[in-house]
Symmetry: C2
């Protein structure tokens, strides 16, 4: 039986922000980078300040998440529900990519004063049959910020 | 001899912005979309309000440009210098993707009050040998806004 991914399988990769006159250039993902699993779709998910989007789990999609604008805290847990929560905060001040294997549950909260922008570079195109959701209150995670 | 692309070969595709509680979802590019030519790299280019980044020409890269945040006016002309300028303004209010074939010169100006974000989903990874630049004042284009 295939081992389910755990939150320890998430890869964090620091990314470059290159100062350029008129507006910086920010890296996201190359086809030779660690975490690249093929290209299916790029889409964006805005998240308003202090708003939470949770919970979702992709059965097949590997996510490559980058936050070029704002700041977002992601929370992950494994489908087995046996593992602990893992939180990672990324954005302009901590500019990194999260590579998230399939079968992990996740949610996120916007911490930018205006909308934060989550970019997902996914290895398969969006397919509503491929993901499952849970209501936010079904999982006892304390979203309040210290 | 291969015909050089002209500004008429740029493809404009309207994109969906889906209202979602907590923050909208915005489409960018799927691997089955018109204009998809393979995946090399995703990167971001910020452009400050009223700042201009110009001019650049990619010899091999097909660009897929989306502006999920702000508003950007792009200006294109052909390498043959025989064609006219073509301008296209995209962003939150006119949410579309520009597919730009190689060998066209382009520049852009930020029209969002804060930084606008240009996302380029490119068919090859960035390679400094593959693009050429010209100083902004080498091309007689009037950037002033009516």
């Amino acid at each position: 039986m295939k081992k389910l991914p755990s939150v320890n399988d998430i890869i964090i990769t620091e990314l470059s922000r290159i100062p350029v006159l008129g507006g910086d250039v920010q890296h996201a993902l190359k086809n030779t980078d660690l975490g690249f699993q093929g290209f299916g779709e790029v889409y964006f998910s805005r998240v308003n300040f202090k708003k939470i989007k949770a919970w979702k789990m992709h059965k097949e999609m590997t996510l490559n998440l980058v936050v070029p604008v704002g700041k977002v805290r992601f929370v992950f847990f494994s489908r087995s529900l046996s593992g602990p929560f893992r939180t990672e905060t990324i954005g302009e001040d901590s500019y990194s990519r999260l590579t998230v294997p399939p079968c992990l549950w996740f949610g996120f909260i916007g911490l930018g004063q205006t909308d934060s922008l989550v970019v997902n570079i996914a290895n398969i195109p969006h397919d509503p049959e491929e993901s499952v959701s849970k209501d936010i209150d079904k999982i006892p995670f304390n979203w309040s910020l210290e």
